[in-house]
């Protein structure tokens, strides 16, 4: 577990360093994700050894957003009179973006023959 955490932190740190040094708009952890993915492609055995801790961490991804979420309630008053309009924009736009994404994905999957994957739900 400690080794896995160390590997994750090393890749995050490397990602942050590259993002800062190259002034990229991509967040450091996303670059770290890409770097670790490349390592997994070269050494799949490392992926297997990190599986338990990584899966445990991802299973509780929801927990990690809680502190930021509590911050939202402290700032709700900043919406002021725009509150209802912003709420409508958030809900409407999130629904439309999901529908657009799903629709485009399914249409292109059908065109490229990547559709009909067995459902292993």
């Amino acid at each position: 577990m400690i080794r896995t955490l160390a590997v994750l932190l090393v890749f995050q740190l490397a990602g942050e360093t590259v993002a800062r040094a190259a002034a990229l708009s991509i967040p450091g952890p996303v670059l770290g994700l890409a770097g670790l993915f490349v390592l997994f492609m070269i050494r799949p055995d490392i992926a297997d050894r990190m599986r338990e801790t990584c899966s445990g961490l991802l299973a509780h991804l929801s927990l990690l957003f809680v502190p930021a979420g509590v911050g939202v309630t402290a700032h709700l008053s900043t919406f002021g009179a725009d509150g209802p309009a912003l709420a409508a924009a958030l809900i409407g736009s999130t629904v439309l973006a999901i529908l657009a994404g799903v629709g485009a994905f399914l249409a292109l999957a059908r065109l490229t023959g990547a559709a009909e994957e067995p459902d292993d739900g």
Binding site: Q12, P27, V30, G35, L61, S62, T94, G101, A109, D119
Partner: protein, 237 residues
């Protein structure tokens, strides 16, 4: 009574208390979510946030004090993002077969997220920097804040909008896509990740592991595309 007050004022300033309360609130939220049969409205992030906000209000604890303890949980977001490399690796075969569908979904979803948010808010009378703060709301928080600042938005307002977008996506995705009869977990996950970033991805992992993997990819790619598209869209309008 004075002793109790003294003890409370000591504990309330200590990170241990709020870290512990955060974990307990999350466990309670998970329980409630299970008791509600995993109803989408009983989203554990939403429930835990409501519980904790109530506790902070009742104890008149400022958010800054709370975050002293909660920051240890918050910090783990970085390593957890890096850990998304594992599901990406595990699903690489599927990912490679769907590069074109993902590219199309990314472009369609990202543009829709930006344009529809701006359009709806504008139609309802939102103007100025508040309107601009909405543009990057589907991107993951660090990217959205940077974009907001660059295009003349208010980063602190964008932070709130990003979190609310994530919760909205996590709550609406499952009932909506079930109602539409969409069973392709790749499409479902990818769309939720691009529209509702990490909170959507956390939800996707709870529903289906393939959906979670594709959601992580959608989140990562839309972080990049929003950073490119949002300034372009804002320059054009």
């Amino acid at each position: 009574m004075d002793e109790a007050v003294a003890l409370w004022s000591y504990l309330a300033r200590d990170p241990l208390l709020w870290l512990t309360v955060t974990l307990l609130a999350y466990i309670a939220a998970e329980r409630l979510s299970e008791m509600a049969g995993r109803h989408p409205l009983a989203n554990p992030v939403l429930l835990a946030v409501i519980l904790l906000s109530a506790v902070l209000t009742v104890t008149s604890t400022p958010y800054g004090t709370y975050f002293e303890g909660a920051q240890f949980v918050h910090f783990m977001l970085g390593p957890a993002t890096v850990a998304l490399a594992l599901p990406l690796h595990d699903n690489f075969g599927r990912v490679r077969r769907t590069l074109l569908p993902m590219a199309g979904a990314l472009l369609a979803g990202s543009l829709t997220a930006i344009l529809s948010a701006l359009g709806i808010a504008w139609a309802l009378g939102v103007r100025g920097d508040t309107l601009l703060s909405l543009a990057p709301k589907s991107a993951t928080a660090p990217v959205a804040l940077g974009v907001s600042e660059a295009i003349g938005g208010v980063p602190s307002l964008t932070a709130v909008l990003v979190i609310l977008t994530g919760i909205t996506g996590a709550v609406v995705a499952t009932p909506m896509l079930n109602a539409l009869g969409i069973r392709d977990w790749r499409a479902r996950g990818f769309a939720v990740g691009l529209a509702a970033h990490g909170i959507g991805t956390a939800h996707a992992f709870r529903v289906n592991s393939t959906a979670g993997a594709f959601s992580g990819i959608g989140m990562g790619l839309n972080a990049v595309l929003t950073a490119i598209l949002a300034p372009l869209v804002v320059a054009l309008i």
